[in-house]
């Protein structure tokens, strides 16, 4: 449901917007061409699939309880992504924009904090490493 190996298509996420919604806030996380001072060529996203699904579902439903009129949809891609491709999409809709922005921002913050997904950065020189956000930069693995 929330995880996909295919390029993320916003259309089905936006199709969930309800007639009572006046504001839709979308966040796209995109593969950047650099990180921690090094050039990035591509990123491999690896997930603990069943748990990642469950965590994303929990995040979306918790946010809808916290902003009772909001609707939150999440997609996260796995596999090898090139620079410019979207790794994650959050679509939060609500009657008014303040709730849509707040729910969308909270969603991506929580996704980054708790969903069991990891990313390995590949560089032009062929080297790669798993990214460790707790270290503020990349940690080189073999």
């Amino acid at each position: 449901m929330h995880l996909t190996p295919e390029p993320i298509d916003l259309a089905p996420l936006l199709a969930g917007v309800r007639p009572s919604d006046g504001g839709v806030c979308v966040f796209l996380g995109v593969v950047r061409d650099n990180h921690a001072g090094r050039e990035t060529r591509s990123i491999e996203y690896q997930a603990y699939g069943s748990m990642a699904e469950s965590e994303m579902e929990k995040i979306a439903r918790a946010l809808e309880r916290e902003w009772p009129d909001s609707l939150v949809a999440i997609r996260h891609r796995v596999g090898l992504l090139a620079v410019g491709e979207a790794s994650v999409a959050v679509v939060a809709s609500a009657p008014h924009r303040a709730e849509a922005f707040a729910a969308c921002r909270a969603a991506i913050d929580r996704i980054k904090a708790t969903v069991p997904i990891w990313k390995k950065e590949f560089h032009p020189d062929g080297s790669s490493e798993w990214v460790d956000p707790t270290r503020g930069d990349s940690s080189t693995a073999r």
């Binding site: 790794s87 996704i111 980054k112 990891w118 956000p133």
Partner: protein, 81 residues
């Protein structure tokens, strides 16, 4: 009893495998399993403390006692988004 252990990201690289079925003694808490694994694969313990752990796809604490058939994973720092 037997649990299913899963490895991801750096832990998978250190272990050299995606997962394994593993025998553990009844009453084993998550923290004891972690200590066993580190004893076998010191490369797992890049940080001093036990990493976040999940049992049956739920985050859980170090004192959770494992049950037969549990799916267990220790999680390197997540980096989704």
């Amino acid at each position: 009893m037997t649990i299913r252990l899963l490895y991801f990201a750096t832990f998978r690289d250190v272990a050299g495998r995606d997962g394994e079925d593993r025998r553990v003694a009844p009453g084993t808490p998550v923290s004891a399993l972690w200590r066993e694994l580190v004893a076998e694969m010191p490369g797992l313990a890049r940080t001093g403390s036990m990493p976040p752990a999940a049992v049956n796809c739920e985050y859980t604490g170090p004192d959770t006692v494992l049950a037969d058939g549990d799916e267990v994973a220790f999680l390197p720092p997540v980096a989704g988004g």
